[in-house]
């Protein structure tokens, strides 16, 4: 095989539906694979911690149906990574169930469904960290047992290996647990003998689908082609092109460095990449390098529960009160402390109209607007406590005692004189890497025949 081609219809399958027109055009090009990533840590720690999806089942099913029917129609494999936003075991099981139901619904001829899991038992991590540190990423210290104790669930980021293992076993449809975005596409390329440098670059450029094209427009299909020494990427949407600027611009998207992309087995080095416009909608990339790592270090993501959460909304229009909003908040905090003490809960005030969006990074925080809206968030071990905490922290702003306030009938405006239950609060407890003895160690694979009379 001289050239391998893969289409990607969605950079985060399920998060918003595939645009079907450009997908159809992509399928008409007869790619060798149809693949998409379905996860992101951008959705926050809640879905991983509570083992839920942020994407609705209807959109997940829509996209899987499009991809499954196309891949079975043209007889090529379909690959999904990081199933159901988080790539936990329950999300893999959910996607496998959707695939089986779609196979039955459309009376598809038998095919081989392969899947792998990415969740890591806390006990395994605990044992490992006693002999060797689980190293922190992005400035974090090594993982502590206390942080692990406070963690609800951990997933490991798979590299190409479980995908390749399932391709070897003849899987026609692969439903992956948590995995590096680029691995979803690099795996088939490496499986067919293409060099890792080109394979991982192919993955890097395809993982967000049409985010590597311009003008801006998500959920459109792009086509990637890889050879022994280059990658080409082509926009399938009639309205989009892959240009030098859009492809190079995407190489640095949502990564700290524009030159380096890390996976468990090593690093994709893009520092010497050359980008050329070779056709109206196609850009060619050469010069990618892959540097294997000294050890196989798997990234771990873990989320821990902080408590139940209520939110309240409070608004201010009096200019004197706006100028003293911090004193109003301090008053309300004091009332909360009088009732609940200073520990065992969290109480957050986000002051929109001053520095709500940017917090400490806001350069204009000394120039509040003429009206403010304050979001009050209370997190506590029980819903009852969170509710009372939030109600106290919100309503006491009404009674704040400022020395020179003219209004004496209440210092704030309520659109709702109530507090609302929000999703439970979680936080990212694990953003670390752990050394593994074997690339498949954390990622058990399974294959089953689906469809027909199976």
């Amino acid at each position: 095989m001289q050239t391998l081609s893969i289409i990607c219809p969605n950079g985060h399958l399920g998060f918003a539906p595939i645009r079907t027109e450009s997908f159809r055009l992509g399928v008409q090009r007869r790619p060798h694979y149809i693949a998409a990533d379905s996860g992101s840590d951008d959705v926050g720690p809640g879905p991983l911690g509570s083992d839920t999806s942020t994407s609705p089942l209807a959109w997940q099913t829509h996209d899987l149906e499009q991809m499954l029917l196309a891949s079975r129609a043209i007889g090529v494999p379909m690959i999904i990574g990081s199933s159901g936003d988080t790539g936990t075991n329950s999300r893999v099981d959910l996607y496998c169930r959707i695939i089986r139901e779609l196979a039955a619904k459309h009376r598809l001829a038998p095919f081989r469904l392969g899947w792998f899991y990415s969740e890591v038992p806390k006990a395994l991590i605990r044992e490992r960290m006693r002999s060797e540190p689980v190293a922190g990423l992005d400035g974090r210290d090594a993982l502590t047992e206390a942080e692990l104790d406070a963690t609800e669930r951990v997933v490991a980021m798979a590299d190409v290996h479980p995908f390749i293992e399932l391709l070897r076993q003849g899987a026609d449809v692969i439903i992956g647990g948590r995995s590096s975005d680029s691995a979803v596409f690099a795996a088939p390329a490496i499986h067919h003998g293409f060099p890792p440098a080109q394979a991982y670059y192919l993955g890097k450029v395809l993982e967000c689908a049409s985010f590597c094209a311009e003008p801006y427009g998500g959920k459109e299909t792009v086509l990637g082609e890889v050879t022994a020494d280059e990658v080409r990427v082509t926009a399938m949407s009639p309205a989009q092109r892959c240009t030098v600027a859009s492809v190079a611009g995407h190489a640095m998207y949502e990564r700290a460095s524009p030159y380096h992309e890390f996976v468990a087995s090593g690093m994709l080095d893009m520092a010497q990449c050359r980008y050329e416009q070779v056709a109206e909608k196609t850009t060619r990339i050469t010069g990618a390098r892959f540097v294997p790592g000294d050890a196989f270090r798997v990234k771990l993501e873990g989320s821990g529960k902080l408590g139940e959460r209520y939110v309240g909304m409070v608004a201010i229009r009096d200019p004197y009160t706006i100028a003293h909003v911090d004193a109003v908040i301090a008053w309300a905090r004091q009332q909360v402390q009088a009732r609940f003490g200073t520990e065992g809960y969290e109480l957050h005030y986000t002051v929109y109209g001053r520095n709500g969006v940017m917090g400490d990074l806001e350069p204009l925080k000394d120039r509040p607007a003429h009206e403010l809206c304050i979001l009050v968030q209370a997190v506590a071990p029980t819903a009852e406590m969170a509710e009372e905490l939030c109600l106290t922290g919100s309503r006491q702003m009404f009674y704040a005692r400022l020395p020179d306030v003219k209004g004496s009938a209440g210092g704030v405006a309520f659109a709702l004189d109530e507090v609302l239950r929000a999703s439970a609060a979680y936080h990212w407890t694990v953003n670390h890497t752990m050394r593994c003895t074997h690339p498949l160690e954390l990622f058990p694979t399974f294959v089953q025949t689906v469809g027909g009379d199976a």
């Binding site: 809640g46 992005d138 700290a256 524009p258 968030q377 990212w428």
Partner: protein, 107 residues
């Protein structure tokens, strides 16, 4: 000497999570001349962005120019991970606004 804001000079100014602990900023230009001019001016160098956001140098984890994309890029450490209670920008997608008004002197 006259000057123009980045909002008139850059094609793209954006911010976005780079993992759960970092927010990365991209300023991308449509032509090499403008890109080189902004690069030369120093208005987006490491010390300048630290001043703009009012943060110590240690909170800037990366700062780079990226010629293939005509881009200047830097990355800031979050004080708490994305999506923790109290974080008001889970995707880190609205942190670029102060860059729009950065003035670049004309040559």
């Amino acid at each position: 000497m006259s000057s123009r804001p980045l909002s008139q000079l850059a094609k793209t100014v954006r911010s976005k999570n780079a993992g759960v602990d970092l927010i990365t900023f991209d300023v991308i230009f449509a032509d090499a001349a403008t890109y080189e001019r902004v690069k030369r001016s120093g208005v987006l160098d490491r010390a300048a962005v630290a001043r703009l956001y009012g943060i110590p140098d240690a909170r800037i984890s990366d700062h780079a120019v990226f010629d293939p994309a005509l881009a200047i890029k830097f990355t800031i450490r979050r004080l708490r991970p994305s999506g923790s209670p109290g974080d008001a920008d889970i995707f880190g997608a609205q942190q670029y606004a102060p860059l729009l008004g950065v003035l670049v002197p004309d040559d």
